[in-house]
Structures are given as structure tokens and as C-alpha cells.
Symmetry: D5
Amino acid sequence: MLFLVNMVVNVPRDVPTDQWDALVATEKAYAQELQRSGQWAQLWRVVGQYANYSIFDVPGNDELHELLASLPLFPYMTVTVTPLAAHPSRI
Amino acid sequence: MLFLVNMVVNVPRDVPTDQWDALVATEKAYAQELQRSGQWAQLWRVVGQYANYSIFDVPGNDELHELLASLPLFPYMTVTVTPLAAHPSRI
Amino acid sequence: MLFLVNMVVNVPRDVPTDQWDALVATEKAYAQELQRSGQWAQLWRVVGQYANYSIFDVPGNDELHELLASLPLFPYMTVTVTPLAAHPSRI
Amino acid sequence: MLFLVNMVVNVPRDVPTDQWDALVATEKAYAQELQRSGQWAQLWRVVGQYANYSIFDVPGNDELHELLASLPLFPYMTVTVTPLAAHPSRI
Amino acid sequence: MLFLVNMVVNVPRDVPTDQWDALVATEKAYAQELQRSGQWAQLWRVVGQYANYSIFDVPGNDELHELLASLPLFPYMTVTVTPLAAHPSRI
Amino acid sequence: MLFLVNMVVNVPRDVPTDQWDALVATEKAYAQELQRSGQWAQLWRVVGQYANYSIFDVPGNDELHELLASLPLFPYMTVTVTPLAAHPSRI
Amino acid sequence: MLFLVNMVVNVPRDVPTDQWDALVATEKAYAQELQRSGQWAQLWRVVGQYANYSIFDVPGNDELHELLASLPLFPYMTVTVTPLAAHPSRI
Amino acid sequence: MLFLVNMVVNVPRDVPTDQWDALVATEKAYAQELQRSGQWAQLWRVVGQYANYSIFDVPGNDELHELLASLPLFPYMTVTVTPLAAHPSRI
Amino acid sequence: MLFLVNMVVNVPRDVPTDQWDALVATEKAYAQELQRSGQWAQLWRVVGQYANYSIFDVPGNDELHELLASLPLFPYMTVTVTPLAAHPSRI
Amino acid sequence: MLFLVNMVVNVPRDVPTDQWDALVATEKAYAQELQRSGQWAQLWRVVGQYANYSIFDVPGNDELHELLASLPLFPYMTVTVTPLAAHPSRI
């Protein structure tokens, strides 16, 4: 089941740089693991923003929330989820 | 899988009254059939508006779109879909 | 009397973790007590957000405000209340 | 139980003037009847707009929706409802 | 002359609790004094929010601003003012 | 008593040109009469829009609504009213 | 070069059904041709809406505008374009 | 004096095609004349929209309004004007 | 050349009171000097807000930005600028 | 390929003045280097705001993001990117 997810990162000003860098590194590793599993199907940077648009392919809503809420940067992100369906003109 | 759905009906001014009444009657019958099947799990009127909030319980995104796009009033509605997940404090 | 309530939690950055965890635990206990009493009739997580949609079933507006303002996380939440009425197509 | 209600009238351009005037007259009579019954407790014009702010005093959500949806101008209005509660500083 | 006023309190996180409680107590005393004088004609809590809707009855714009800007919580509030006029359907 | 008023004209597409021109001419005459009386104290065009910003100087809210609702173009305008007060830095 | 494109179809009420159906059929053929050429890389239906989210892979801005403005339904759509870039966590 | 101007064309559905085409042709001729005079300094299409962003270089606000209000498509456009100033980092 | 300017002051919570008072005093002196020179042509308080609406009469955009950016409170204000032109109904 | 870019600077309150000044100086040097290379084609101040509108002329989306994300003030800016295309009325 597919979802378009928009994540905007709000960098906190009170987290020390090295702690933040560690968080970002963990996020990256986790994101790549989810990509390899096929659940994080697509990932693009939004031009000019610390943000991404992603496609998630998951069994359902609960699984999607589980994945998103487990992101190391989740507490620092504004997340928007749009459920997608098959399009009749899709080849 | 649960979704909160908000439907706002924009009554068209160029559909004859009897044709509109027929549409509304078909909509009602269809809505009740979906309620009986358990897919349209909850249905409430928004106070002061020609609108509803509903809970749908469906196998997935494709099925939900299929149901919503088949509503007789779909061409006259603004529909918003919010995916829901289990809440950890739910008893 | 039914109300749709949306609660979005804005986690404060200046409350120590253990104090926050204690608040969340109290919130959970209180939420479950209200669910058992039937007043907090439904509770769902919004996918991708630290937020919920809930249905409250209360005698009136004053009682609803009393319940919401007593939530341990109330000072950290943005709360939106939508009054609901019976829908004519409800079976 | 008190509610703040905002009604904005969107005058339709395709209803003949005399038909519209008749609607407005019926609306006025109905509004005054509801004021006499105490349910439409307050009624003010918004300066510069074909709109009002009103206070309704009704037994509950269902009754309020019933009243509002029965307004002759209801199909031509955008209605917003805000539930009110007792204020602790009220004398 | 009547005005609908909406006040939303944004509780500051850097004011000590006892100092805040003192402010709130002063605010309450001042609000009650203005109610007794008839200038703060109505006062309701917005359900689910640290906010109120109020009706002020004052000689003019300058007097209203004077009253609002003198509220002890004024620096912590978002205030919206809507001028009201007599409604032709008012009995 | 001063008010900042913004009027945006939404030209109707179903009023014949000569009828519209007549309305605009009446509006202009009425606007100039109100300027001469001192009630419509200032009048500016918003660059790039069929809109104006105006200052009205009137005894009160009721009088302002009376003036605005009597404008020949009132049914075709979106009007926003902001009450103004004396500024402490005004010389 | 990748772009996320959101197209919302606003069905006109004054186009005869068969003419509309013909337009939609042409749109579908054109959309499938662009998918085959690889320029319309992804296409999903937004659940509950007559809308899609799409990924376009085109040489540049001019080419993208050319494609979008040539869509048979272009005059009836609200289109939003978000430029995408490579994401550093993309595997 | 420079201004960033955004023009969004709202194609009317009740103007016959040949009349509209004539309007667009006149608009184009007028736009090109203003470009040659240097007043319409820059002109770009917004990707995916019937809209443009433009830079106008004019003696003042009155002249800019005169130019914009004289555009043949002015009655069908939503126009937004942003005044620009010299930037200290401009080489 | 005339501009309508809206300034909303966002009082910072980390500037000591005496430092803030000094800033406000300098702002007032500067505002009065600009009023005397005729450039800050009008100045009104927005009722219920720490904000003003002003009319500036300046030679051009660059001069207006220069004036606004030099305001002692500029770093603490949200400023909106609307260019004004002569209105054809102005007497 | 052209893009309209809007950058709004949100001055942080917790960065020491000299550190901020150093950042701004580096930003200026970098901005001028990009202007000389032709990539930052136009740069204007928005009147009354710590913001700019710019035109970038770059090979593609990836290059634009690279440039913007490398701006020394990028962590303190809200950036909006609008892709531009050739306009048919451009001379």
C-alpha cells in the first residue's frame, strides 16, 4: 500500500552539533535499511529545503506510523501523509 | 484499516430539485449498505454544515478510494482523508 | 453528546525527559480512566504525527472543557473541537 | 448549553429578487421566533459584511443542528460553530 | 458600542509559576471589575482552549484598546477584535 | 472614530455592461458625497487590484455598517474592517 | 530532472458529458504515451479526490511546462510543481 | 523603480473562444510594446500554470497601476504586486 | 508616493526590560522625526494589538526600505507593505 | 534553466552578534561569487523585510539545491523555489 510522505526537518537550536550529527547519521542508516527492505520505496530532496518527499510501500496504516515514529529525527520533523491509490491511466 | 474521512457537500445550483433528491436518496441507500457491510464504520453530521465526519474500515487505500469515488454525491463533495493507527493509550 | 476532538502534542524542549515521561504516564492513566467511564469514546493515533483524533461522549460543553483542561498534557497541546450530531443516513 | 455561531450569507445570483426577498422575510420571522423562545440568545451584525455572530442556547448538538439546518437561508450560508463553556472569571 | 473579542492566551514557558499565578489573579480581578462596570459585557471560555470569546460594550475604539492593552495578560495574548452592529432581525 | 476599510470589487459576469457602468457611476457619486461630509476620510487604490483601502471617520459601528451596506457596489464587494485607535507616537 | 506534480481536476459543470468523456479519453491516451516515453515517470491517484500525484522526469523547466500545458484537461486543473533533487540518504 | 508582479489568468468559461483569442492577441501586443519601452522589464511563465512572474520598471505606483489596469486580460487576472529595492549584496 | 504599511511588534522575551524601554523610546523619537519630515504621513494603533497601520509618503521603494529597516524595532517586527495609487473617485 | 527563489532570513536570537556578522559577510561574498558566475542572475531586496527575491540560472534542480544548501545563512532561512519557463509573449 502506497503513501506519499513529506518530512520537513526543523533543526533544533539547543542540541549540540555532535549530538545532532550522530542523530542524522543514525537516521541515514535507518533510512537506508528501510529502503533496502522496500518499505521506503522512493526518497527525494525538496529543492531549497531541509525536507524530503518519499513514497512508502507498507502493509497498512499501523505499520507506516510505526516506521515514521521510529525515525531518529521524528521529534524534529513535521510529517504529512497522503494515501495513494492505483491510477486508472497508469500503464 | 481505519481512516477518518470528512465529506463536505457543495450543493450544485444547476441540478433540478427532483434530480438532486434522487441522487441524495441513492447516496443514502449506498451509505447504509456500506454501513451494514462494516466498511463505513461510523457516520456523524457536522453541526451547522452539510458535511459529515466518518470512520471507514477497509482493507487498504485502493478499496477506500473505490468506495468514495463510487458515492453518488462524490462529484459534489470536497473529501479529506486522514489515515488512523492504533493509539497506545487505547483500552 | 458527541464531539470530534483533535489533539496535537507539542513536545516542550525544556522539560527534563523523566518529568515528561511521568506526565505522559499520568496522561495515559487518565485517558484510560475516561475511556472506561465511556466519556472518551474513541481514540486513534494520526499516522505520522504525535496527535490523536478522539470521540468524546459527554453531557455538555462545560463537562467537555473540564475533561480536556484537566489532561496532564493540556498545556502542551493544540486542541480543536467539532460538535457532532446524528446523521440522517446513520443506521 | 451555549454556542457562538457565525453565519455568512452568500447571496445567490440566480434567485429572482422577489423570491429572495420572500426567503429573507421568512428567515427574519423564524429568527425572531427562535429569539422569543430563548434559543437564539444573541444576534449581532458583523460591520461591513452580510453576516452575523450569534449566541445559541440549546439543549445539545442535535438541537442546534436542527435549528440551523432549518433556517430558510441555510443553503446560502457558510456557518461556523464554536462550543462555549462557563468562564472562571465570569461574575 | 459592541465588539466581539477573541483572546487566546499563550502561556510563556519562562515565567515562574508563582509569578504567572499572580498575573492570572490580577487579570481575574481586573476582568471582574470591567464586568461590573458593564464594559466587559459577556465572557465565555472556548471549549478545549485557553481562550475566551467576549463582548465589550465601550464608548469607542480608543477606549477598547485602552482596556485590552491594560490587561495583565495582554503581552501573552493573541487578540482579535470584530466590530458589531445592530441586526435588523434582532427583537 | 477611525476604521481602516479594505474593499475588493468582484465584478459580476452576468450584469450587462451599461447596468454595471450605471452602478459604478452611482457608487462614485455616493463615495464623493461621503468624502465631502468627512466620513470617508481617505481613499486609495490598491496597485494592481480592483480594490481600495479607505479610512472612515464615523460616530460608531452602527453608522459605519449603515454607510458600507448602502454602497451601490456592496453586493459585489468583499469588505474587511479594522478598528483603529490613537497611536502614542503620533505627533 | 525530477519534479513532483500535483494535479487536481475541477470538473466543469457546463461541458456536455460526451464531450467531457472524449477529453478524458484523450487525456488518458496522452498520459500513457508520456509514461511510455519515460517522461511521466510515476502516476498515483490521491485517495478520495479527483487528483493525482505524479513524478515527471524531463530535461528542464521549459519541457515540463510544455508537457503540462498540452494536457487536454489542463484548462480544468489546478497544477502544483515541486522541483526534486537527489537525496543524500538515497541508496 | 522595480516591482515583482505575479499575474494568474482565470480563463472565463462564458467568453466565446474567438473573442478570448482576440483578447489574448491584444494582450500579447500590449505586453510586447511595454517590454520594448523597458517598463515590463522581465517576463517568465510559471511552470504548470497559466500565470507569469514579471519585473516592472516604472516611475512610481500610479504608473504601475495604470499599466496593469490597462491590460486587456486585467478583468480575468489575480494580480499580486511586491515592491523591490536594491540589495546590498548585488554586484 | 504612498504606501500602506502594517507593523506588528513581536516583543522578545530575552531582552531586559530597561533595554527594551530604551529601544521603544528611540523608536518613538525616530517615528516622530519621520512624521515631522512628512515621510511617515499617518500612524494609527490597531485596536487590541501591539501593531500599527501607517501611511508612508516617500520618493520610492528604496527610500521606503531604508526608512523601515532603520527602525530600532525593525528586528522585532513583521512588516507588510502595500503600494497605493490615486483613486479615481477621490475628491 | 531559471528559477524564482524567495529567501526570508529568520535572525536567530541566540547567535552572538559578531558571529552573525561574520556569517553575513561570508554570505555576501558567496552571493557575489555566484552572481559573477552568472548562476545567481538577479537579486532584489523585498521592501520592508529581511528577505530577497532572486533569479537563479542553473543547469538543473540538483545544482540549484547544492547552491542554496551551501549558503552560510541557509539554516536561518525559509526558502521557496518556483520553476520558470519561457513566456510566449517575451520579446
